[in-house]
C-alpha cells in the first residue's frame, strides 16, 4: 500500500500504535517496532472506524504478537524464546486430550505446523499466545479424534430433520412426540440462552467457568438455567395442547409422569453427533 492509498487517519493510527508498541514491547529481535506496527495495521479484522479500531488495537497482546511475528520471519532468537516459553506447554496440553504416542504425535504436528510451515504467522495477537496455542492444540486434537470416530457436527442440524431421541421407558410414539416438542421449544431459544444450556449440559462447564464468558454472575446464570428449564417444560405443554387440544397434552402427561422422559439435551440443542467426513472440515 503506497502513501497515497492509505485511508484517512492512517498516519495518526500508526503513530498511536507505535507508541503502544514502544510502551508494551521490548524490541529484542530483528523485527522493528515500525514493522510490527505496519503489520498490525494490515490485519483484516481491524475495523475501519477509528474508534472501534482504537479499541481493538488497545486490546492486542503486542508482546506475544511481536514474538510470533519474529518467529514467522525466521528469527532464530525468537524461536529459541518460543521454544523455552511454549513447547512444554504444547506437549503438556496435547496430553490432556490424547494419550501416549498419540499425544506426542499431536504435539509434534502442532510444533511442525507452527515452525516449519510458519503457521505461527496466523497468530494475530487478539489473545495471549498461550491461549491461542491452546485453541490450536484443542482443535487439532478434536480433528485427530474425529478421524477415527464419529465427528461433531460442524453446525446445528436442521431440527426438523433430526430424529429426536426417545425416552427409553415411555412408549415410542409418546417419547418421540415429547422429544419433538422439546426440540421445537429449544429451537425457539435465543442464541445466548441456547449457548448457556449447551455449555452447561453438553460441555459440562461449571457456573464458575461460564460466568466470565457469558458476562453474568454465577447466581444469575443459575437462575437463568432454572428459568430456561421451566420455560422449556411449559412450552412443551403449551405446544402439546395447541397441537392436539387439552387431550393431547393430557395424553402426553402420563408419558411424562411415568417418565423417565429423558432427553439427550445436548443432541436436542444441536450438538448431535453425526457421521461426517473424516478430516473434520467444516
Amino acid at each position: 500500500m503506497g502513501p497515497t492509498d492509505r485511508p484517512a487517519g492512517h498516519d495518526s493510527a500508526r503513530a498511536e500504535l507505535l507508541a503502544l508498541v514502544r510502551a508494551q514491547v521490548q524490541i529484542r529481535f530483528s523485527l522493528t517496532a515500525e514493522t510490527l506496527a505496519d503489520r498490525v495495521l494490515s490485519f483484516p479484522f481491524l475495523d475501519a472506524a477509528p474508534d472501534r479500531r482504537h479499541g481493538q488495537v488497545s486490546r492486542l497482546v503486542l508482546d506475544d504478537l511481536y514474538l510470533a511475528l519474529a518467529c514467522a520471519d525466521g528469527d532464530d532468537d525468537a524461536w529459541r524464546e518460543f521454544e523455552r516459553a511454549h513447547f512444554a506447554f504444547i506437549r503438556d496440553f496435547s496430553a490432556r486430550f490424547l494419550h501416549g504416542a498419540e499425544a506426542g504425535d499431536l504435539a509434534s504436528t502442532v510444533i511442525a505446523d507452527l515452525w516449519q510451515r510458519r503457521k505461527i504467522a496466523q497468530f494475530q495477537g487478539r489473545s495471549s499466545l498461550r491461549t491461542w496455542l491452546g485453541a490450536v492444540v484443542t482443535r487439532m486434537a478434536l480433528n485427530a479424534k474425529a478421524s477415527t470416530r464419529l465427528r461433531v457436527a460442524a453446525s446445528a442440524p436442521d431440527l426438523a430433520t433430526v430424529d429426536p431421541p426417545a425416552s427409553s421407558d415411555v412408549g415410542d410414539d409418546e417419547g418421540r412426540a415429547l422429544a419433538r416438542l422439546m426440540q421445537q421449544a429449544i429451537g425457539r431459544l435465543e442464541p445466548d440462552e441456547k449457548l448457556l444450556l449447551l455449555f452447561h449440559y453438553e460441555q459440562g462447564l461449571s457456573l464458575d467457568a461460564m460466568a466470565p464468558l457469558l458476562g453474568a454472575s454465577k447466581a444469575t446464570l443459575s437462575r437463568r438455567i432454572s428459568a430456561l428449564r421451566d420455560r422449556l417444560r411449559q412450552d412443551v405443554e403449551t405446544m402439546a395442547a395447541a397441537l392436539g387440544g387439552p387431550r393431547a397434552a393430557e395424553s402426553l402427561r402420563p408419558a411424562i409422569d411415568r417418565a423417565r422422559a429423558e432427553f439427550d439435551l445436548a443432541a436436542l440443542l444441536g450438538g448431535t453427533r453425526v457421521k461426517g467426513d473424516a478430516d473434520g472440515r467444516v
Binding site: 472501534r52 516459553a85 496430553a95 491461542w132 484443542t138 449457548l195 462447564l205
Partner: protein, 232 residues
C-alpha cells in the same frame, strides 16, 4: 486466516481461532462478542474448542508471564506446566457425564413413583395434576443466609455441619450434602411445600434428621437426591 481444521485450507472467519481465543480472554468488543455467541450456539466444533480452553482454566495472565518467557529455561512443574500458570487439572469424569447428560422433565413422575403411598398421603397431589417439574438442575445460588442449625447437629464450622455421619456445607443459603454431585445423574426429588415434605418423611423417615439443618437442604440418600427448598 487460521490453522485449518484439516491442517491445510484456510477456514472461514467465524471459526477463526484468534477470535475464539479472544472470546475466551474476554477481549472482544460487545458487538463481536455477540457474534461469537451466536456462532457458538450453532457450531459444535468451535464450542468444543472454547469449552476445552475453559475447562483447562484459561485465560492465562499475559503481563505476569512476559518477563519469564524471555529469561531462558524455566523450572517446570511435575505436570510439565511452567510455574505460575493457572491451567487447571482437568477432571476426567466430565466426558462420559456430559455425553449423557439428560434433561428429565416431570419430577412429578418421580414424586409420584416414590411417594406413592396411596391413601395415607392425601397431601401429595396425584401425578396428573402436578405441574411438570424438572429434575437435577444447576444448584440454586442465592445470597447466603445461614439458616440456624439444630443444636442436635454437630457443628464443624460456621459453614459446615455433620448430621447422621453425613457432612453438609452451606453454599448460597443451602446446606448441601458433600456427597452430592450435580453431574452424577442421580434421580432427584424436589420438595417445596410442607405437604410434600410431610408426605416424603412419612415414606422415608431417614430423611427427617437432615431437615433439622434448615429449610434448604440437598441430601443424597440411597441413590436419590432430595432437594428441600421449603418456605421459612
Amino acid at each position: 486466516m487460521d490453522v485449518s481444521k484439516s491442517g491445510e485450507a484456510p477456514i472461514a472467519p467465524e471459526h477463526d481461532l484468534n477470535r475464539l481465543a479472544a472470546f475466551v480472554e474476554q477481549r472482544l468488543d460487545p458487538t463481536e462478542h455477540l457474534t461469537v455467541v451466536q456462532h457458538l450456539a450453532t457450531c459444535a466444533d468451535c464450542r468444543e474448542v472454547v469449552a476445552g480452553l475453559m475447562r483447562e482454566g484459561v485465560s492465562v495472565g499475559v503481563g505476569d508471564r512476559r518477563s519469564e518467557d524471555r529469561t531462558g529455561p524455566r523450572t517446570e512443574t511435575p505436570t510439565g506446566l511452567p510455574p505460575g500458570l493457572r491451567w487447571g487439572i482437568r477432571t476426567p469424569m466430565w466426558l462420559p457425564i456430559a455425553a449423557s447428560i439428560v434433561l428429565v422433565i416431570g419430577a412429578g413422575w418421580f414424586a409420584a413413583g416414590r411417594l406413592h403411598a396411596p391413601t395415607s398421603t392425601p397431601e401429595v397431589p396425584p401425578a396428573t395434576s402436578e405441574p411438570l417439574k424438572t429434575l437435577p438442575g444447576p444448584p440454586v445460588v442465592e445470597p447466603p443466609k445461614p439458616p440456624p442449625a439444630d443444636p442436635g447437629t454437630t457443628r464443624r464450622s460456621a459453614n459446615e455441619r455433620e448430621v447422621g455421619g453425613r457432612r453438609f456445607k452451606l453454599e448460597a443459603g443451602t446446606w448441601i450434602d458433600t456427597a452430592y454431585d450435580q453431574f452424577a445423574l442421580l434421580p432427584a426429588v424436589d420438595v417445596r411445600t410442607a405437604a410434600e415434605r410431610d408426605a416424603l418423611i412419612a415414606l422415608v423417615p431417614a430423611l427427617k434428621p437432615f431437615l433439622d439443618l434448615g429449610p434448604k437442604v440437598t441430601v443424597v440418600h440411597q441413590g436419590t437426591v432430595y432437594r428441600f427448598d421449603l418456605p421459612r
